[in-house]
Symmetry: C2
Subunit: 195 residues, 2 copies
DNA sequence: TGTACATCAGTGAACGCGCGTTCACTGATGTAC
DNA sequence: TGTACATCAGTGAACGCGCGTTCACTGATGTAC
């Protein structure tokens, strides 16, 4: 009954999700039309509904996928404080700030995600907790439960800093903020260790 | 030559800007239509272009106005560390999180502002620096220049924390993050003082 | 003081356009015999 | 091995709708005489 290879449609679905991720992060969710992101995926608009029920359905899938990707990217980081600092410096780099389309979904879309309906916000919550618990386990493996809240708080600092650096029209100030963000995050990390 | 009272049109313009501020923060900039926000202001869509050149023009005006309002609100805060803590607790409160329309424009719109054209980003930069320099002067009046970068960094933490708390579908976790955000901000404040 | 007039903030219908979504169709694929 | 057929991912035109913007008009206002 399966006419084409079983995975073939899944591969296309994945291509749409990845193209949408890039589009959404570059132009916003509201700012990205179905036709444009299907063209990015090398398809026409009509094919969209063979893969998703609606744009909202896609948004939830994209949010989940983006956070899974972020989690995988962060898993490559080294352990301990040195690893944490390296990760911070990469996240709060000029390169990351100037390339939202390939960067952190939270930095690009967090306030838009906050306005979405429950399914998307649940996908976001689940995804971000997976990221945070993963990072917390690597950076502070000894700390038990409170690591989640503290790591989440540092994540909030990172996200807010990148967003603010992107919004500032003064490049020098925007760059200085990134560096200050790294220092602030390290301060929080060390304060947590000391407790 | 002035037919109506000189201020009359300015009063209407202000009403539009304030209505737009609420709408934008509730539904996003892309998510808010001219007709809807003019209706909020008690007018019809056509009158819009007697006050603004374009939607972009309005957005820049709203961003400037919102930050001026935030600056005025923060000027009421008490001085010193106690004042800072009180301000933090108000910003990172459940009430503020659950009422974006009347809250901080950065928390509601920062990633959308980051995607806007230069005039709006310049208005944002100017406005946020006025807020930050004002707060820095009140909270750490002795500290000279580096206060700006540090205060900006704490602002980024506050904004990121509120956004993240709004996006999380788990209410208990969202509440805990606000409290952790207050602790993190105080840690950064104290670390700055110590230097 | 009363009337004709000029002003202009605001009205509301209309514009072209792109949105999310639907649908009749195509054509490459693998199956059945 | 070859041919007729069923499947279904993808096409592309069309749908109603709301968007930002334009414009001919209205009617309340204050001015001129």
């Amino acid at each position: 009954m399966v006419r084409y290879g079983r995975e073939r449609k899944q591969v296309t679905r994945r291509r749409i999700i990845e193209a949408a991720g890039r589009r959404f992060k570059a132009d916003g969710i509201d700012g990205s039309g179905i036709a444009a992101l299907m063209a990015d995926a090398g398809l026409t608009n009509g094919a969209f509904y063979a893969h998703f029920d609606s744009k909202d359905d896609l948004v939830a899938a994209v949010v989940a996928d983006q956070l899974r990707e972020q989690r995988e990217g962060l898993s490559a980081a080294a352990l301990g404080r040195a690893g944490a600092e390296q990760m911070l410096r990469q996240y709060l780099s000029i390169g990351h700030r100037d390339d939202p389309a390939r960067g952190c979904p939270s930095a690009a879309l967090l306030d838009e995600i906050a306005r979405t309906a429950d399914p998307t916000r649940r996908a976001y919550t689940e995804g971000v907790l997976a990221v945070i618990d993963d990072v917390a386990a690597r950076v502070a493996p000894n700390d038990p439960r409170s690591a989640r809240a503290r790591t989440l708080s540092i994540y909030a600092l990172m996200v807010g800093t990148l967003q603010l650096s992107r919004a500032l029209a003064d490049r020098q100030l925007a760059d200085a903020l990134l560096e200050q963000g790294i220092q602030s995050a390290l301060t929080l990390l060390d304060a947590a260790e000391r407790t």
